[in-house]
Amino acid sequence: MKTIKKDLVIIGGGPAGLAAAVSARKKGLSDILLIERDKILGGILNQCIHDGFGLHTFKEALTGPEYAQRFIDEFHGLGIEAMPETIVLSLDKEKTLTVSSKKGFVKIKANAVILAMGCRERTAGAISLPGTRPAGVYTAGAAQNFVNLQNIMIGKRIVILGSGDIGLIMARRMTLEGAKVEAVFELLPTPSGLARNVQQCLNDYGIPLFLSTSVFELHGKDRLTGVTVAKVDEKFQMIPETKRLVPCDTLLLSVGLIPENELSLGAGVRLEPATSGASVDDRFMTNIPGVFSCGNVLHVHDLVDHVSEEAALVGQSAAAYLLDRTESAAAIPVVTKEDIRYVLPQKISGKTDVTLSLRVTRPMRNASVLVADGDRKIARKKLVRLHPAEMIRIKVKAKHIENAEKLEVSVQC
């Protein structure tokens, strides 16, 4: 097998990989290779044809393909090497990759690696949907790919399980394409997607959203003919007397995203149970020196603008690691207290300003996110509305944390 050497290898050519590559090059790194399994760069943005991307980054509402193209143009403009239609089969802790493409197998020895593989959708199997196994059951993202990229219409009478953003976006998309979307059912008592998407994707089209309700059985032999839905109690147990049949030919699942970390695990990267992504320091370096992680493979984001911003920082970190050979000095743990599901990075050096990304466990109103070192308050952010679907970011200044022992992040009502 042929072996080639690269200074920096980026795995994944979606928004995270592109932004990381561009910023690493701008920091002066010349030997960069980006590997992408699809024919084209841009990742999932290619199928997200709705608008609303880039409000932070470009101050305008772009569609996914338009947002991606800006980064793709910059990427090519900087002459960065890409290897499309190539899949990474393995990565080890020495940062050696085995990749496969139409040209065959190649081994790549990298001095640093940025993990930017994105995430995957939870499937019918992942949520143990009972009933028959007919055609017509898709994840919302798979449906989006069929309809928006392959020009294949997937059904006429649609039920959507889960109120994640992709499910809401697809409810509108299928309606615009002439399908009848019967309803969206959500197990939780609150919508999982952004409030604006409930408004502009469901309410605008009169599509009902049933909360604390889930699908409990699929019906149909060859093609889906309907689903049994029922309300659930506080413990998510089905309330049998509320069972009813909803006829439909298609069920879309928008029931969560999981970072795609199989390669990371193979390299010995330590994952965090709360995010299913790597545990990282303030340079986004994992426990394996020279292996960085960013974007949805690190933690699932709700806004691509935040992915690009995070990945740009990671590109700079990787360039600094390679050009200056700086060692990690992160020794201050960042931990969560009540009402915080996760906070990231999990460890910081205290030497640079850092933006903490976090999510709360439950919806709350008029509360503050507090960062403290013991009794010393370091940062506070007041919020009118806190929701698990919305990532919260809070800036912490280096001068306030250089001597910190431990940062504790909590919610104060």
Partner: protein, 126 residues
Amino acid sequence: MLKKNLVCIVCPNGCDAEVMMEDGQEIKILSIDGCTCDKGKEWVVQELTSPMRTIASGIPVEHGDFKLVSVRTDAPIPLGKIFEVMTVIRHKKLKAPVAIGDILVPNPAGTACNIIATRNVAFMAV
């Protein structure tokens, strides 16, 4: 007085706007609370007088490296016109190449917008 609650769709913050209006046929806004930016307040006024939306879809392309070119309206259109504009989009066919930003249909269904391409589709011989 009439109270109306709206979720702003201008950005992902999705502010909860609470609007106080005078009773009656004519829309007279007395106060807007909950919006955290001026764009949001403008949106609320627009939403109560004549709601507008941007829509996105796809148009088939012959001999393209993509089967569809993704498209959107380059300005918001009246909410009530969405399905008329979608009918225009559905009957349109294109030949490659198409460039991002190309105007594909001017003023669909009499609206003050253009349908523009949001992706490059290169010519590909079969």
